[in-house]
């Protein structure tokens, strides 16, 4: 199980993946937006999305949980 956490304070612009999705290494899970820049959050390794902890429009802090990959 891998936890994907936010590297910075940001707004969640788009949630690309959904719980239950099968994903490959490098797939985009969500797209964050901070300071007018889009920052894609990518899967580091293949697996299944067990949980998506954010919704579009959320403001997340550094270290907040974004997704859990199994």
């Amino acid at each position: 199980m891998t936890e994907v956490r936010a590297e910075m304070v940001a707004n969640v612009w788009k949630v690309v993946a959904a719980a239950g999705d099968t994903i490959a290494d490098g797939d985009t899970l969500v797209i964050l937006e901070s300071m007018k820049m889009e920052i894609p959050v990518l899967a580091e390794g293949a697996g299944t999305v067990a949980r998506l902890a954010v919704a579009e429009g959320d403001v997340i802090q550094e270290g907040d949980l974004i997704a859990v990959i199994e």
Binding site: E7, M8, V9, A10, N11, E33, S34, M35, K36, M37, I39, V59
Partner: protein
């Protein structure tokens, strides 16, 4: 002169406009979002109005709320700064319709230059060189592929309604064009509310040089020298200087004359900037776009000319003469601006956070336009610009020396800033030599 002005912006530019207004005896009114309540521009204004929540759509892009604030405070004029509503012709018109003075160009000039395709066609007719590119919007991928064949690869894909480098990408071949076109369209729609796309020939190894113009109250358009803005990351400027090390006297006078013609073509009033791409070896240039507003990097022009551009904006908006003789503008020495961003200095990723210590450098030729102070929180809602560190020297070498000391003397703790990048830039042989182009940062990061 104007009695009062509402500054419809935030951060460093709001503070900078407020200071000139107050020096001229114009009462300055700040508007702000909930996220910015503690910033210096709010406390330094003579009056202040809370617009709403942090999201730009609910605050700095909320034209109705800004006009309501102007009515409530009795503001006689609106200064838009840059970004947000500065190049929104509809907002400019609504300010004028409300009986207020718009400290900016006529709405028609904003509209004509805001559509990049229209702007290209218009300045070309006025005798300004343009690169091979679209004369109308490119509707789909098939049309884009045909257009790129006509123009010749590599091409730059751009949003016709865009700016600030957002949504731009280069394509070296049909495959890259196919991939880039969709992304460019969705970004254009999202950021600029219009999916219209244009293609332009992409000039690798070019310099990005722009000319400051002023449209005077009597209708004359004058040029106040150029600024070299070739130091960019993600097509966004990081450092600027004037004069440009890559522009010789002949090229300079041709560019200044072309910029004046572009301004005249739209009946320009106030401060504006005409951007060009320069092929340095050939000493040739093509029109890129016109920004119908005050530019972020305007201080370098102010440092070498001694002219306060915001003061001229107020004077022109009020129908007055400018404060200097337009026929004899002298430029002295060399000036450099370094944009201090809240971002990591390696990958340039955003780094919001709370500022611990904030100590600005001082000394001969050093000017800092800051938007923040110790204890302020830098939020993710707006652009990452914390401050502009500007230096002036008798020549480029002295300006570089002063910039190096000033970067070392600027202390900001609590979040990551690109100050270490600026130290690296000033130490690099490429930048020090002056022989660089728009790919200087890519080259620095590749090595």
């Amino acid at each position: 002169m104007l009695a009062s002005v509402l500054v419809a912006n935030r951060g460093e530019i709001a503070l900078r406009v407020i200071r000139t207004a107050r020096r001229l005896g114009i009462a300055a009114i700040a508007v702000y979002s909930e996220a910015d309540a503690d910033l210096p521009f709010v406390s330094e204004a003579d009056d202040r109005v809370l617009l709403g929540p942090a999201a730009p759509a609910e605050s700095y892009l909320n034209g109705a709320a800004i006009l309501a604030a102007a009515r409530r405070t009795g503001a006689r004029a609106v200064h838009p700064g840059y970004g947000f509503l500065a190049e929104n012709a509809g907002f400019a018109a609504s300010v004028i319709d409300a009986g207020l003075t718009w400290v900016g160009p006529p709405p028609a000039a904003i509209e004509q230059m805001g559509d990049k395709i229209n702007a290209r066609n218009l300045v070309e007719r006025a005798g300004v060189p343009v690169s091979p590119g679209s004369r109308q919007a490119v509707p789909d991928v098939t049309a884009a592929l045909a257009e790129a064949e006509r123009i010749g690869y590599p091409v730059m894909i751009k949003a016709a309604g865009g700016g600030g480098g957002i949504g731009m990408s280069a394509a070296a071949d049909p495959e890259q064009l196919r991939a880039g076109f969709g992304t460019a369209r969705s970004r254009a729609e999202r950021f600029f509310g219009s999916p219209a796309i244009l293609l332009e020939q992409f000039l690798a190894a070019s310099r990005h040089v722009e000319v400051q113009i002023l449209g005077l109250a009597d209708g004359r358009v004058i040029a106040l020298g150029e600024r070299d803005c070739s130091v960019q990351r993600r097509h966004q400027k990081v450092a600027e200087e004037t004069p440009s090390p890559g522009v010789g006297p002949q090229l300079r006078s041709a560019m200044l004359a072309a910029a004046v013609r572009a301004g005249e073509a739209v009946g320009y009033r106030g401060a504006g900037t005409v951007e060009f791409l320069v092929d340095e070896p050939a000493q040739r240039f093509v029109f890129l776009e016109m920004n119908t507003r005050l530019q972020v990097e305007h201080p370098v022009t102010e440092l070498v000319t001694g002219i306060d551009l915001v003061e001229q904006q107020f004077r022109i908006a009020a129908g007055d003469q400018v404060s200097f003789d337009p026929a004899s503008v002298a430029s002295r020495g060399h000036a450099i601006e370094l944009r201090v961003y809240a971002e990591d200095p390696r990958r340039f990723l955003p780094s919001p956070g709370t500022i611990g210590e904030w100590a600005e450098p001082a000394g001969p030729g050093v000017r800092v336009d800051a938007g923040y102070a110790a204890g302020n929180t830098v939020t993710p809602f707006y652009d990452p610009l914390l401050a502009k560190l500007c230096v002036h020297g008798a020549d480029r070498d002295q300006a570089l020396d002063r910039a190096r000391s000033a970067v070392t003397g600027f202390v900001i703790t609590g979040l990551k800033t690109n100050l270490p990048f600026h130290a690296e830039l000033l130490a690099s042989a490429q930048f020090a030599s002056g022989a660089y182009d728009t790919s200087i940062i890519d080259r620095m990061r590749a090595s």
